[in-house]
C-alpha cells in the first residue's frame, strides 16, 4: 500500500517570532525554517510501516513556495521514496491544502494519508480532517499509536480526558500527536541519497484546484505582555504574597 504524507515548511519550533511593526504579519526574514514537527513524526511513522513490510511506498507532499523542496528532501532523507511539490506563492489555507491533497489522492490512490495534527505556524489543526471529509474517508486524529492490519487501522488517540482507540476502515486519514514516535535523525549518507530521489513539481492549476484564500488577515498584533513580576526570597514570602497581595489562596 502507498502512504501519502503531507509535510509543511514552517518556522522552526525554537524560533520566537516577532510581529511586524506595521501589523501585517510576523517577520519571517532570515528566520530558520524547518519541517513541521508533527509532520516529521508522520514521515517517521510511514517509513516504519514501510520497513515493517506493510507499506510499499511513502510519498511526501509539500504545498507552497519553491523552498518547500528542502522540506521534501528532509522527508526523503528520513526515508520517503519520492516527493511532490505543489508550487504556489499564494498563502495557502487548510481548505486549499486539503483540496490539493484530494487531487493528489485521486492520482496516487494511497491507502492512508498520515499528516500532522497541527502546523505550528497557523495552529489550525484542520487539514487532515478536511481531506478526510472531502474524500468521504474515516479519520483518526491525534494518534499516539497506529496498527494497520486486514484493511483496517486501529488507532489510539490522545483526547482531552485520556485515550481512546478507534477502528477505521482504509483508506483513511490519520493525524499524528507528539507521542506517536520519535523521529530519527537523517544521516549524512541518507541526506546524500535523498538528493537523487525523484521530486515532481506541479501547480495548483494542473490539479484543477482553486486555492484562493477564504479568510483575509486584517491585522496581526502582539499579544498583551505580562508585566514583569518579582522574585521572592523564600516560601514564607511567597505564601504571604499569594494570600495578601494576589489574594488567590
Amino acid at each position: 500500500m502507498k502512504i501519502l504524507v503531507p509535510v509543511k515548511r514552517v518556522v522552526d519550533y525554537n524560533v520566537k517570532v516577532r510581529v511586524k511593526a506595521d501589523g501585517t504579519g510576523v517577520d519571517l526574514a532570515n528566520v530558520k525554517m524547518s519541517m513541521n514537527p508533527f509532520d516529521e513524526i508522520a514521515i517517521e511513522e510511514a517509513v516504519r510501516l514501510k520497513e515493517a513490510g506493510i507499506a510499499t511506498e511513502v510519498i511526501a507532499v509539500s504545498c507552497g513556495v519553491a523552498a518547500c523542496q528542502e522540506t521534501l528532501r528532509t522527508a526523503m532523507a528520513i526515508g520517503a521514496d519520492r516527493g511532490i511539490l505543489v508550487e504556489t506563492d499564494v498563502d495557502l489555507q487548510p481548505l486549499a491544502v486539503a483540496k490539493l491533497l484530494q487531487a493528489l489522492c485521486a492520482k496516487e490512490q494511497p491507502q492512508i494519508v498520515i499528516c500532522g495534527k497541527q502546523a505550528i505556524d497557523d495552529d489550525a489543526n484542520q487539514t487532515g480532517q478536511m481531506l478526510a471529509a472531502l474524500q468521504n474517508w474515516p479519520q483518526a486524529t491525534f494518534a499516539s499509536k497506529v496498527v494497520l492490519a486486514n484493511g483496517k487501522a486501529t488507532v489510539t488517540r490522545e483526547i482531552d480526558g485520556g485515550l481512546e482507540t478507534l477502528e477505521i476502515s482504509l483508506p483513511a486519514v490519520v493525524s499524528t500527536d507528539l507521542r506517536l514516535n520519535e523521529p530519527r535523525y537523517a544521516t549524512l549518507p541518507n541526506i546524500m541519497k535523498a538528493k537523487k530521489k525523484p521530486l515532481d513539481t506541479v501547480k495548483p492549476a494542473d490539479l484543477g484546484v482553486d486555492v484562493t484564500p477564504r479568510l483575509t488577515t486584517l491585522k496581526v498584533a502582539e499579544p498583551a505582555k505580562r508585566s514583569a513580576g518579582i522574585r521572592v526570597a523564600d516560601v514564607a514570602e511567597l505564601v504571604n504574597k499569594l494570600k495578601n497581595e494576589a489574594k488567590v489562596i
Binding site: P94, A98, Q129, M130, A133, T141, I168, L215, L242, V248
Partner: protein, 309 residues
C-alpha cells in the same frame, strides 16, 4: 441569522467548554440553537436547555451517536446546517476533530480557536503558539468556528429553552470505538480549575511528581498539570499536558514546578491570572512570565509550601 452550537457532552452531562462556546455565540449575536447528539442523552439535553442565551435545543438521540465520532456527527450537522450563519464548537479535542470536517463539506474555511469576536464575520485568533494574534475576516456564507474556552466566560444556567427532537442521519459505519480510557480523578478538571499545580521534568520521576505535587494540589483544591517533558517521560498521562499542543488553561493561580518555560508550554498557560514559578535555574524563561518567582530546589520548597499554605 441563527447560530448552531454543537454541545460537547458524555450523554449525561455537558462538558464545561460548551458553556464558553455559547458565550462566544452570544458575542456574535443572533438566535442560538444548541445541538445535542448522543445516545440516551436526555439528561444532557435537559442541562443544555438551562444555558442562558440558548433559544432551542435540538436533540438527535441514536445509538450511533453514543461515541460522538466525527463521521456520524458531521453527517448530522450537514443535514441540519441550512439556515445557520455560524456553526460553533469548543476548541477541545472533540471540537477540533469535528469542526474541520463540517467546514470542508460546506466548502468553507474553518476559523480555529477564536479568542475574540470583532463582528459577525471578523474574529481574533492566536497563531505561532500565541506569539501573535491575527484578526481574520471570513468571506464564506457559513462560518465554522472553534472557540477557545478560556477567552469567554461561561454562561449561567438560568434558562428553560425549548427542546426539539430531530431525526438522526444514517450511520456512516466508518469508525468504531473499541476502547476509551479516561483518567479518573477527584480533582477539578484542568480546563475549569481555579488553581493548577503543574510539574515538569525537574521532578525527576513519576513517583516524585505524585509524592510532592499531590499534597500541594490537595491542600489548594487544585488540578494537576504537566509539561510535555513530564508526560513524555511517563510521569503522568497525556491529558495532563498544558501547552500549544496540549490544554490551554487560564486559572486564577498557576504554580509551575520544575518547568523551564518553553514557548510551547507558555502558550498554554500565560493567560493565567497569577503565575508562580519554582525553579532552581535563575535564568529559566518561566521567570519572564511569573508574577512570583522562587529560585530554589523544588525538593525542599514544595514540602515547605505544603506546610505553609
Amino acid at each position: 441569522m441563527a447560530i448552531l452550537v454543537i454541545a460537547e457532552h458524555d450523554n449525561t452531562a455537558l462538558k464545561a467548554a460548551t458553556l464558553n462556546t455559547v458565550a462566544a455565540a452570544q458575542k456574535i449575536g443572533g438566535d442560538i440553537h444548541l445541538l445535542v447528539a448522543g445516545s440516551n442523552c436526555s439528561a444532557a439535553a435537559q442541562e443544555a436547555a438551562t444555558l442562558n442565551g440558548v433559544s432551542l435545543v435540538k436533540v438527535a438521540d441514536a445509538a450511533h451517536y453514543q461515541n460522538q465520532t466525527a463521521e456520524n456527527l458531521t453527517a448530522l450537522v450537514i443535514a441540519n446546517a441550512a439556515g445557520y450563519s455560524h456553526i460553533l464548537a469548543p476548541a477541545t479535542t472533540f471540537g477540533k476533530n469535528l469542526a474541520p470536517r463540517i467546514a470542508a463539506l460546506l466548502d468553507v474555511a474553518q476559523i480555529s480557536e477564536i479568542t475574540g469576536v470583532e463582528s459577525a464575520d471578523t474574529f481574533v485568533r492566536p497563531i505561532y503558539a500565541g506569539n501573535a494574534l491575527a484578526t481574520v475576516k471570513s468571506a464564506d456564507q457559513t462560518k465554522v468556528i472553534t472557540v477557545r474556552s478560556t477567552a469567554f466566560d461561561a454562561v449561567n444556567r438560568e434558562n428553560a429553552a425549548k427542546i426539539d427532537s430531530i431525526s438522526p442521519a444514517a450511520d456512516t459505519a466508518q469508525s468504531t470505538l473499541t476502547n476509551r480510557e479516561l483518567t479518573k480523578s477527584e480533582r477539578p478538571e484542568l480546563g475549569a480549575a481555579k488553581i493548577i499545580v503543574s510539574g515538569g521534568r525537574g521532578l525527576g520521576s513519576g513517583e516524585n511528581y505524585h509524592t510532592l505535587l499531590e499534597p500541594l494540589a490537595d491542600k489548594l483544591g487544585a488540578a494537576l498539570g504537566a509539561s510535555r517533558a513530564a508526560v513524555d517521560a511517563g510521569f503522568v498521562p497525556n491529558d495532563y499536558q498544558v501547552g500549544q499542543t496540549g490544554k490551554i488553561v487560564a486559572p486564577q493561580l498557576y504554580i509551575a514546578v520544575g518547568i523551564s518555560g518553553a514557548i510551547q508550554h507558555l502558550a498554554g498557560m500565560k493567560e493565567s491570572k497569577v503565575i508562580v514559578a519554582i525553579n532552581k535555574d535563575p535564568d529559566a524563561p518561566i521567570f519572564q512570565v511569573a508574577d512570583y518567582g522562587l529560585v530554589a530546589d523544588l525538593f525542599e520548597t514544595v514540602p515547605a509550601l505544603v506546610a505553609a499554605v
